[in-house]
């Protein structure tokens, strides 16, 4: 389906739909996420059965602060949809979609690792990219890029111009 038709079809169930640059984006509330995904999957004209990616973006000056984006695509119809959920800064929790889309397992772990968003119902929510004892969630905008003054496991590595020979 082309973007305009797709948007019309999705709007029948999810009212907040935007079409931009040839892409269709639907915004849902946290409570309606699993219902929306279930409907998008079961509706025959839409048939969104493939989840490409789950990720988040941090907008610290806005409320809601974290915007989690689900990239869905359809094996049968070759169209795409983005589903977005906004999360407040003090309550960054979201139901996990692993039961519907097993591929979301590692994507959600990575989002938790980078942003600290907790996915309720995830079978194995641990850090995936960073070492287990790491403190902080580095991709948040409030965190520094690092690389200098790194502390880890009791070692301290200063910037290059202040290092002395061991």
């Amino acid at each position: 389906m082309i973007a305009a038709e797709l948007a019309e079809r999705v709007r029948t169930h999810l009212p907040d739909v935007v079409v931009a640059r040839g892409e269709v984006t639907a915004v849902v509330e946290r409570s309606g996420l699993l219902d929306a995904l279930g409907w998008l999957r079961s509706d025959e004209a839409l048939a969104f059965d493939f989840l490409s990616s789950v990720t988040a973006t941090d907008w610290p000056e806005r409320e809601p602060r974290y915007w989690v984006a689900y990239e869905l695509s359809s094996m049968a119809h070759d169209h795409r949809l983005r589903l977005k959920v906004g999360l407040p800064s003090d309550d960054a929790r979201l139901p996990s979609v692993v039961a519907l889309f097993p591929t979301a397992d590692w994507h959600e772990r990575e989002t938790f690792d980078f942003y600290g968003i907790v996915f309720d119902g995830h079978p194995n929510l641990r850090r995936i990219m960073l070492p287990d004892g790491w403190e902080g969630h580095p991709l948040r905008k409030t965190e520094e890029i690092g690389g200098v003054n790194t502390r880890y496991k009791g070692a301290f590595i200063p910037p290059v111009d202040r290092r002395t020979a061991p």
Binding site: A20, R21, S53, T55, T103, I128, M129
Partner: protein, 425 residues
């Protein structure tokens, strides 16, 4: 001294002794291991030689590329993104550049698009050759390693001729490509295309009917189509299960709808099917490269003319690599102040991309490589997320390896062709 973890079994009864050997062994494979494709760690729970449970642990190559792109300009993002999946650098650059061009609302000139397709398909051949080399070595066919790298060296010569680098070229830029093909490149590509079919036949005669290769690959690592779709697996692994899904065919980009090529599938859903698919994909890539060479006969621009987007300098190959052409340096230093200011602003600040977000998928040698780019209207990316195919494909390893032997685990991972740079970014 007795430990009663099996209270129902009497240790003095010899017949019940068989049931006592129920404990499994947890073995760690990697991250430094000759047979795992890079720094992948596998936690295997073994019952004898059979894998009961497998958990891949990744993150040993986490580089923070996504965070770094938020601190650099849009054009500098190309050099970061290209090092994610380091065996398919053109694909990373292409996905990122296409996403940014969609945000900008521009399109690269026709010749630039043909060059992008040309280099992407050559990169696909190079990546499949490295896959063949390393898979062969991991499964014991060590001579295939030397053969695969021998062919790849010719391809790297072509890349070096065109971009100046053997790997991690920052060739595809926003608005086009950085340089046109130098004289002699088309001849080199022609020679390579003449030489390659014979070599691929050589590999097939070495491996396809080889009883050891068939034993180790046929029937190993079965992943059905439903499992693959549920786990998000794309690329040769999905096509080996019979699903004809290829982003070049389904959501064409860069003019792929105008090229003739087939989407290769198999029905066996095992490692041998993936091997056959990759060999055939090399042939399909050669077909596309020939069509590209035909289209490159007419000259044309390789970077768009829009001064707010295009890289300001005229680059040319100098005595020490690619750099600003002396004529251009003379122009900005001596002739035109506006040109100097424009050059300065474009190089330090760069393009300003309108706010919005875009997800751009391309078909990399490993599957669907997607780039989710968010902009807030500034001269730096706000968020760049690389949906890497290897990251998702590795989630299928526990399913494929369950109940198989340890040696099959190696064959399965080799057939998935994961690149840890893409997995960990």
């Amino acid at each position: 001294m007795s430990f009663d973890f099996r209270p129902d079994v009497d240790p003095r009864d010899p017949l019940s002794a068989e049931e006592l050997r129920q404990e499994t062994m947890i073995i760690n494979m990697g991250p430094q291991h000759p047979s795992t494709h890079g720094v992948l760690r596998l936690l295997l729970e073994l019952d004898g030689e059979t894998v009961v449970r497998c958990e891949p642990i990744v993150g040993y190559l986490h580089t923070g590329i996504e965070k770094n792109t938020e601190y650099r300009t849009w054009q500098q993002g190309v050099t970061f993104v290209t090092r994610a999946d380091y065996l398919a650098p053109f694909f990373n650059e292409l996905a990122y550049t296409l996403a940014v061009e969609r945000l900008l609302g521009i399109e690269a000139p026709l010749r630039a698009q043909v060059l992008r397709v040309l280099f992407c398909e050559l990169n696909r051949i190079a990546s499949h050759l490295v896959w063949l080399a390393t898979s062969g070595m991991e499964l014991g066919a060590v001579s295939v390693m030397l053969f695969g790298f021998r062919e790849r060296e010719d391809l790297l010569d072509i890349f070096e001729m065109a971009t100046g680098l053997r790997m991690n070229h920052a060739y595809v830029r926003i608005g086009g490509v950085v340089l046109d093909l130098p004289p002699g490149a088309t001849d080199a590509i022609d020679d390579f295309l003449d030489m390659l079919p014979g070599r691929i036949r050589e590999y097939e005669s070495l491996l396809s009917k080889n009883p050891i290769w068939v034993e180790r690959n046929a029937g190993v690592g079965i992943l059905s189509a439903e499992d693959a779709i549920a786990l998000g697996v794309t690329g040769p692994t999905l096509r080996a299960a019979g699903v004809a899904k290829d982003v070049r065919r389904d959501e064409p980009y860069s003019g792929y709808e105008t090229y003739e090529f087939d989407v290769i599938t198999r029905e066996s859903a095992d490692c041998y099917g993936r091997f056959e698919i990759r060999m055939d994909e090399m042939r399909e890539s050669m077909r596309i490269v020939e069509q590209c060479l035909d289209r490159l006969r007419e000259p044309g621009p390789v970077m768009i003319e829009d001064p707010k987007v295009a890289w300001p300098s005229r680059l040319e190959v100098g005595p020490d690599g690619i750099g600003n052409s002396p004529a251009y340096v003379k122009h900005i230093m001596e002739e035109s102040m506006e040109a100097l200011i424009h050059h300065f602003k474009m190089v330090t600040e760069g393009v300003r991309v309108p706010a919005g977000e875009v997800y751009q998928p391309v078909e990399s040698p490993r599957g669907e490589l997607g780039m989710y780019v968010v902009s807030d209207g500034e001269h730096r990316p706000y968020r760049v997320r690389i949906r890497d195919p290897s990251f998702v494909n590795l989630q299928a390893v526990p399913t494929m390896v369950q109940g198989a032997l340890v040696a099959d685990a190696i064959a399965v991972i080799a057939s998935l062709d994961p690149i840890m740079g893409g997995v960990d970014r």
